[in-house]
Subunit: 393 residues, 2 copies
């Protein structure tokens, strides 16, 4: 049975439209909402009063008059509920309690070198419990938990493979749902970051955006038409394993010449060691190399530029395939920005097909942007608002 259209649906859609308008323009008057949406004033009034009853909207005293009766300003009640979003990284766990606007209320950061799933899971659960205690009384309470992970996640929230954690076939969503009775969303870290940046990183969100996560491995999050694209099973964006050098270096994936064998954090560190840029008693790390580069270590800077060129090749491929509006480079290697940004932009400019006619921007975003956290919060919030709409039908 397909979706039919009747009065109930019309009402739910209009109500969602009104709420969306209030969220985007908060604070705003009923009259303005009617003007912006094109709905009749009366319709807006009645829908708003329902939204107030449901605690999604609040009235906040009178606003400025524009030559007539002063408007009653409406606010989105971002405190009507909370989400908990987590970013499970390699070596750390970030977590945050957010309101319904995705604004971070409380933040937690923990180093985590243990990789055994049971141990990590225990830590996750206790972190969530801690954050839950920080919630103030609210009409809807915790509306969802979102979790970004560095691995391949299917549409059922199962982690099929997380090479850098050494995890395989972990039913993470199921495990969390066994403990917490709220909707749980598990998504790939790059996908979440892509969405988070699209939603919160721009004045006007780009139509098509690609986020290249260059960490230990390389992943790509694709936001096409402002919606996350994940492919048939959820595995889209395996950018790290496209071939850019035929018959190149072998990759553990079974392929050879994979992008991430040349452009990732791992590739960077391997090369640094191989070239003797790290002395015996130093531990190879991005930060260490950056320090050396800052001290004008020519060899390190040259290595950065080499890695940068490979990244540029990947970016060019992305542009040629997707004709996006925006490309964002994130995760660890975005820290190399000062040494590679100009070169990458120059390379892309001269190598992408018909670049001049395209209006693509290539930028960097820093790891402390919390893109993944924000993206996961967005997913849970949108999922919650959608579920409200549907249960009312």
């Amino acid at each position: 049975m397909s979706r039919t259209w009747n009065q109930y649906i019309v009402k739910q859609e209009n109500k969602a439209l009104v709420l969306k308008t209030i969220i985007e323009h908060t604070p705003i008057s009923r009259a303005k909402v009617a003007q912006v949406t094109g709905l009749n004033k009366g319709t807006v009034s009645s829908l708003v009063s329902e939204l107030i009853d449901e605690h999604f909207v609040m009235e906040s005293g009178p606003g400025e008059s524009s030559g007539g009766r002063r408007p009653v300003m409406l606010l989105f009640n971002q405190a009507a509920g909370y989400t908990i979003a987590l970013d499970l990284g390699v070596g750390y766990i970030d977590a945050a309690l957010t309101d319904l606007n995705g604004e971070i209320m409380v933040k937690k950061h923990a180093k985590m070198h243990e990789r055994q799933f049971d141990t990590v899971f225990e830590h996750i659960v206790s972190t969530i419990h801690t954050l839950m205690k920080e919630m103030k009384k609210s009409p809807y309470g915790l509306v969802g938990i979102g979790m970004g992970v560095p691995g391949v996640v299917n549409h059922e929230g199962e982690i099929l493979l997380a090479p850098n954690l050494n995890w395989k076939n972990i039913q993470l969503k199921q495990a969390l749902n066994d403990v917490f009775d709220v909707p749980v969303i598990v998504e790939n870290e790059a996908n979440a970051a892509a969405y988070g940046e699209m939603r919160f990183g721009f004045k006007t969100p780009p139509k098509h955006m690609l986020y290249l996560s260059v960490g230990m491995g390389i992943g790509m999050g694709m936001v096409l038409d402002q919606k996350l694209y994940t492919g048939l099973n959820g595995f889209a964006g395996e950018m790290g394993h496209i071939t850019i050098v035929k018959d190149g270096i072998n990759c553990r994936c079974g392929n050879a010449g994979c992008f991430e064998r040349y452009a990732s954090e791992q590739a960077l560190l391997e090369q640094a060691i191989k070239r003797g840029l790290v002395t015996g008693n130093e531990e190879a790390s991005v930060d260490l190399l950056i320090q050396k580069a800052t001290e004008n270590n020519e060899a390190v800077i040259a290595l950065f530029k080499e890695i940068g060129e490979y990244i540029a090749i990947g970016i060019t491929t992305m542009i040629n395939l997707f004709n996006p509006e925006q490309i964002l480079i994130g995760n660890q290697l975005s820290k190399l920005q000062p040494w590679i940004k100009e070169d990458i932009q120059a390379y892309v400019y001269s190598h992408a097909i018909g670049f001049h006619s395209k209006k693509v921007t290539v930028d960097f975003t820093s790891p402390n942007h919390l893109s993944t956290i924000k993206g996961m919060a967005s997913f849970t919030i949108e999922n919650f608002l959608l579920s409200i709409k549907q249960t009312e039908e």
Copy 2:
């Protein structure tokens, strides 16, 4: 002003749903439509009677009884209007008159070695006029013209670059609109073929499908969520110019190591000549080489397999990036299928990330499938039905 929802919209949407159901299930009774859509029988009755008034639907005598009153069968009136779809190839022009179901009524094929735009355009116009004369009297007449071209087309129907025709910045849509007073759609050939195959090539259309057009150049049509994806400006799918061999053969695009320098018809012919597989008085062509391969010419077969391996690398990239349900290889080099299909499938199977968990099928489609024509017809028909809906609002 955003889109609001009211009774008019509800009615138009439901009417569209009823029409879609009739098109997909033709012949079908009103009762069945109600059952399939979930709409009330009365609602279906009144909408159907409007559709009949508008000549989109016809009644065709009584159907088989299933133990009660015999149903009145409804047919989609595919003869309510016509479209003309063209496939502008390198060296030929295909054209067809189709009904509103996209079924081809009249077909024209013409060799065309002249590349001067004015000459080609004249030929196009006269072909369209010829086909228009074949139309029978119908309520809506010609509802649109669709044209697939081997080049980069923007959203305004302008051909920015068609290297194999040596065209640049041609306002094709505008030129056609100056002559014909119907909606004109111009689209890249691979995009059209992708859509055409998705719509007509499967029992159940795949959710995400990629069509790799391997001709003189290489283009990719992307149908994601059963909708054509063309990127910000319409330039998405420039698969021919992604780098698969770093510092490889130079390409006229300014890049080096481009996919189409290794896997296209052009690459094939160049190599054949270079290796002396074509004698002085023969003209190098795909068909000639196929003939030699059929005669068990080992060197030619080896060349085919080499080209096949490069194609496989490209396909693997596509799978890793998009996690599609279906991949289709089309255009000239699909003729190499007998020599390369198995190798490609084996390569993809062993090189694509987590292949086993993915349900992707890699197939070939022959050039005489008229995929491009059918895709362009689909575009014009859908555009027409949409415009009807909107003008009624």
